[in-house]
């Protein structure tokens, strides 16, 4: 059981965290024909927009209510109304998703009330899909914005089922925000290979996978359509991925009675065994040969890689679900998660496979990684400065990844995704050893100092299993 520590600094240095409104906006990007709208000053949107554009290397739709100082003081009704009208008229999205920000939450704008008023005042918007989520910047983090937004989507967009009959082939999937478009595509293929028909809410795999679109459109391209969301109540199961999605899965169950199965992790051997077992059970089909082979390949990759990964001290900074997923997998490969830094509370924190989890920033990650002599750093692109100062290899996980290409295609789920991640990390470590840790005549000049640094046999982390 990990001790959860909350950073006590007045000044966050090199933030790990991003704000929850853009986590909410991100969720809307996984709907077809959507326009996310942040209710705040224009900077709130432009910073978020820039993050997404640099991460996905795509044009990304996102709008702002463009609150001025005066509007902020007077209340944002007019801005919300005008924004919705303008967007509805110009970009003609199928849905507008609205997230509040720090400015408008400080004032206390009643956006749900505004929307009611707007619908009354403009009959053409009476039943126009508008989903609002309260996501103040000064609370919680990116992941929270996503999970609240998906839960709200379920509550607002999913029809209550009219009959109790369920379609046995249909499965809802509620993916956490730590999954990439590549992950979503992989899961889609896996689920379809069992003869099931998945609906992903949201479906960033369809919208942000970096394909060339068929037309110029000012809203999202791809993603799940509203009619498909409406029908999710007729599915036989909901699969939720990441502890953050429990809220949305429960909302779905309450609203439609569709039972859910939560997979806290999909990186690693056993979590995917569980997924395969579950899919096999609900589909009544055996696990396809492809995945049997892939399991063998993963096991083999673990064996090949454990010589390199085993015993390494790692420093990982990520949002709770991603941190739990990746660090659990690496812990299971014998690595020591010596430093774990995250952004926000989660029921997972106490179950992290390490002694301590810190809700903190990248300065903490850097200082702890240095103090604990870590051999590898994993976090989002902003960790680049820290890793370079510490002269240790750096593996980018999570959002944003703005300084490398292909962020949308990174894979961590499934046997195959786990295999590729393990190879990538082992190869980083091998390269680092070759480049920076070749033995020299001086390596053992003071051998007993080095012996002290050997993995402590008293470490509570590496507990005997048999």
């Amino acid at each position: 059981m990990a001790k959860v520590t909350i950073g006590k600094k007045a000044c966050a240095v090199n933030p790990l965290k991003m704000s929850q409104p853009i986590g909410g906006a991100f969720a809307f990007l996984g709907l077809r024909g959507a326009m996310p709208l942040l209710h705040g000053s224009q900077g709130c949107t432009s910073f978020g927009l820039t993050l997404f554009v640099r991460h996905f290397k795509e044009a990304v739709p996102m709008q702002t209510t463009a609150m001025s100082e005066v509007a902020t003081v007077l209340g944002g009704y007019e801005n919300v109304e005008q924004a919705i009208l303008n967007i509805h008229k110009r970009q003609k999205p199928e849905i507008i998703g609205i997230c509040s920000t720090g400015v408008t939450e400080t004032k206390g704008d009643d956006v749900d009330g505004y929307i009611r008023l707007i619908r009354e005042k403009h009959p053409e918007l009476a039943s126009y899909p508008l989903v609002y989520v309260s996501t103040p910047d000064f609370k919680d983090a990116f992941q929270d914005g996503w999970d609240k937004t998906v839960a709200k989507m379920v509550e607002v967009l999913v029809d209550k089922p009219t009959s109790t009959r369920r379609d046995p082939a249909r499965v809802n999937v509620l993916p956490g925000c730590h999954l990439t478009p590549g992950d979503i595509e992989e899961l889609r293929t896996i689920i379809e290979d069992f003869g099931l028909e998945p609906s992903f809410l949201p479906d960033i795999g369809g919208s942000l996978d970096g394909h060339i679109p068929d037309e110029f459109t000012p809203t999202t391209i791809g993603g799940i359509g509203l009619e498909e969301i409406a029908m999710m109540g007729s599915a036989s199961w909901t699969i939720a991925i990441g502890a953050q999605m429990k809220r949305a899965a429960e909302a779905m169950q309450v609203r439609t009675g569709v039972p859910y199965r939560l997979f806290e992790r999909l990186c690693g051997l056993l979590p995917n065994d569980e997924l395969m077992t579950f899919l096999s059970e609900i589909s009544g089909r055996p696990v396809p040969a492809k995945y049997r082979r892939q399991r063998g390949q993963l096991a083999d990759a673990m064996l090949d890689a454990h010589f390199h990964i085993g015993g390494r001290r790692l420093a990982i900074g990520a949002e709770p679900d991603l941190l739990f997923d990746v660090s659990s997998m690496l812990h299971e490969m014998g690595a020591q998660v010596a430093v774990a830094v995250t952004t926000t509370q989660s029921p997972l924190l106490e179950r992290m496979p390490c002694d301590e989890v810190l809700i903190g920033d990248l300065e903490d990650l850097e200082n702890l990684a240095k103090a604990r002599d870590c051999a590898l750093m994993m976090t989002h692109s902003h960790g680049r400065q820290a890793a370079s100062r510490l002269k240790i290899p750096f593996y980018r996980i999570g959002f944003p990844m703005f300084d490398r290409l292909g962020a949308g295609h990174l894979l961590t789920v499934g046997y195959r995704g786990t295999r590729d991640l393990i190879f990538a990390l082992a190869n980083l470590i091998i390269a680092d050893r070759e480049d920076n840790h070749q033995p020299t005549p001086d390596t053992w000049l003071d051998p007993w100092a080095e012996a002290q640094q050997a993995p402590s046999p008293d470490s509570a982390v590496v507990a005997p299993l048999h």
Partner: protein
């Protein structure tokens, strides 16, 4: 009136601003805060603008007082280069929480400054105000004052919360912070007759270093660059420079003008984009320095350097001529770049088939006409689909623009080159212009485009998306051609003022109905040009076209 409001008002009064010159006293007071249109705005806020302008100051700590969004979503995202300290790339924020919102965040801010000084010991801490603490009333000036006194270290309040306006206002508020709290606070250890300030240059991709060797050769010393590769002490003592160059962006014109006012430092607006501009700027620098007492031989030495560098640049461009002659370039950028790079491209044999004038001044447009002829295709704002059609119709070989339009060009399988802020290439000075030509050559001749323009196996000639887009545009055009009423409606629906969302028809009607003949009149009657003022040029064009003939018409009747 709060001190922030006063500062903003102060900025609005900027006499150095070309746009302001077009306004009446009353209008000027209304300010140039772009009244943004909800649901139709893009671009950064004032905080963003202030941070962009000051962050390249490399050795200071930039502390953002606000919720995580302001710094967490945006830090370390600029391509400025520093030759030393990298502290500017460290993200500092108070990351205020609900408690701070309810009970105020001044204490947290004070502690944050203390932590930074203890851990990083920077020469100064810049504190950026953001919307939420501005609303809850955190007084960053007071905190900075107290902290400066307590820690014996300058703490500079930058009062530019996002909601006060757009990015360009933020640039100027950043300048005000420097003027109020930094510039002139330290006396330089040495001064020379060759001391120059450069204002509004951010050293993106290190491009200042493309020019600096020429300064070094001429003995010209950069007292301070505000703010690219800048150092606190240099900026603080920059009031003793002999002359200043204000880089054309106008982002910090208030700094240049007030330094002239306060310290008698003459300045000129110049640019190092383009060969001619580089030479002009060098000449102007030499002239100002000599006027301020530098030995007169600087002028000749400068001319010699200019002659040599120009010759080398043209020689380096020469071999590209054969390959680039007749290549058509579409230039979508702002301000001076819409014409300053044109000469070099033309010298390399290229033809400009269009240039954007969305952010251009009247003078910019004159220069364009001078370079490209009266038929120069000047482009206002355009939608992606229109841009695609335009690219095709103009048969352009490459588009040069900022990152914003890159995806349109790329998805249309058009060569594209970033000439705005996000670019990774440095294009300043003589060598920079050669580099630009070389990069254009590389982009145009990349064999990739031929492949990308080929159809996918499942597409027939008629179902490619490009074909569909063109067909749709053609169909719309045909429909309009067949229906003069609809065509006229479409023509009149064209948006002229984006801030206030005023269309062409409304303006034309107002001009005719009220016999208007200036922008102010149009503004009074339609609200057009009542926002950022950028459309004043367009309104003038309409006035020229509509009102004159109307008078002639009346005369003829």
């Amino acid at each position: 009136m709060s001190s922030l409001s006063a500062t903003i008002q102060n900025v609005f009064n900027e006499p150095g601003c070309g746009k302001n010159a077009n306004k009446s006293e009353a209008e000027r007071k209304k300010g140039c805060t772009k009244q943004l249109q909800p649901g139709g705005a893009a671009g950064g806020c004032a905080f963003d603008g202030a941070k962009v302008a000051l962050q390249p100051l490399a050795d200071v700590a930039h502390l953002v007082h606000g919720p995580i969004a302001c710094e967490g979503n945006s830090w370390d995202n600029r391509g400025a280069a520093s030759s030393g300290s990298q502290l500017w790339r460290t993200g500092f924020t108070t990351d205020i929480n609900e408690t701070d919102v309810v009970f105020g965040g001044e204490k947290r801010l004070y502690k944050a400054i203390k932590e930074i000084i203890e851990k990083y010991d920077p020469p100064a801490v810049f504190v950026y105000q953001t919307c939420v603490p501005a609303m809850t009333g955190d007084d960053i000036n007071a905190v900075c004052k107290a902290a400066s006194a307590k820690f014996g270290k300058p703490c500079i309040p930058v009062n530019s919360p996002g909601f006060v306006g757009p990015k360009n206002l933020g640039n100027k508020l950043a300048g005000e912070a420097l003027l109020d709290h930094v510039i002139g606070t330290v006396e330089p250890e040495v001064t020379t007759p060759y001391d120059l300030n450069i204002i509004g240059e951010y050293n993106l991709s290190g491009e200042l270093w493309q020019v600096k060797p020429l300064f070094d050769e001429l003995g010209i010393r950069i007292s301070a660059c505000i703010s690219g590769d800048g150092r606190y002490k240099d900026v603080a003592s920059s009031h003793r420079a002999r002359a200043a160059m204000m880089v054309c962006s106008k982002a910090m014109i208030n700094v240049a003008r007030k330094m002239e006012e306060r310290y008698g430092i003459p300045f000129f607006e110049g640019s190092f984009y383009g060969i001619q501009d580089s030479s002009d700027s060098l000449r102007e620098i030499a002239r100002l320095l000599v006027e301020r007492g530098a030995p007169a031989d600087l002028l000749d030495r400068t001319e010699a350097v200019i002659a040599r560098e120009e010759a080398k640049a043209w020689a380096a461009i020469e071999p590209f001529k054969q390959r680039l002659t007749g290549k058509k370039v579409l230039l979508i950028t702002g301000g001076v770049k819409s014409w300053s790079v044109v000469a070099a491209l033309q010298e390399a044999g290229m033809e400009l088939v269009g240039t954007s004038v969305k952010k251009s001044t009247k003078e910019d447009k004159e220069r364009i006409k001078e370079l490209m002829g009266q038929d120069a295709h000047m482009i206002d704002d355009m939608a992606p689909r229109e841009m695609y059609k335009m690219l095709k119709d103009a048969k352009a070989d490459i588009m040069l623009s900022g990152g914003k339009s890159q995806f349109v060009a790329l998805k249309a399988a058009m060569p594209w080159l970033d000439i705005n802020q996000e670019r990774s290439h440095a294009f300043m000075g003589y060598i920079g212009m050669v580099k630009l030509v070389a990069e254009i050559d590389k982009a145009i001749y990349n064999p990739m485009w031929a492949q990308l323009r080929k159809r996918a196996p499942w597409e027939t000639a008629s179902n490619t998306w490009q074909a569909k887009a063109i067909a749709q545009a053609n169909a719309e055009a045909a429909a309009l051609a067949a229906d003069p009423v609809a065509a006229e409606a479409a023509r009149r629906a064209k948006k002229i003022c984006h801030c206030k969302s005023v269309d062409l028809g409304t303006i034309e009607d107002a001009i005719k109905a009220h016999a208007l003949n200036d922008v102010a009149g149009v503004r009074t009657h339609t609200n057009a040009s009542g926002g950022c003022g950028a459309c004043a040029g367009r309104v003038e064009d309409i006035l020229a076209r509509v009102s004159a003939p109307a008078e002639l018409l009346q005369a003829a009747e």
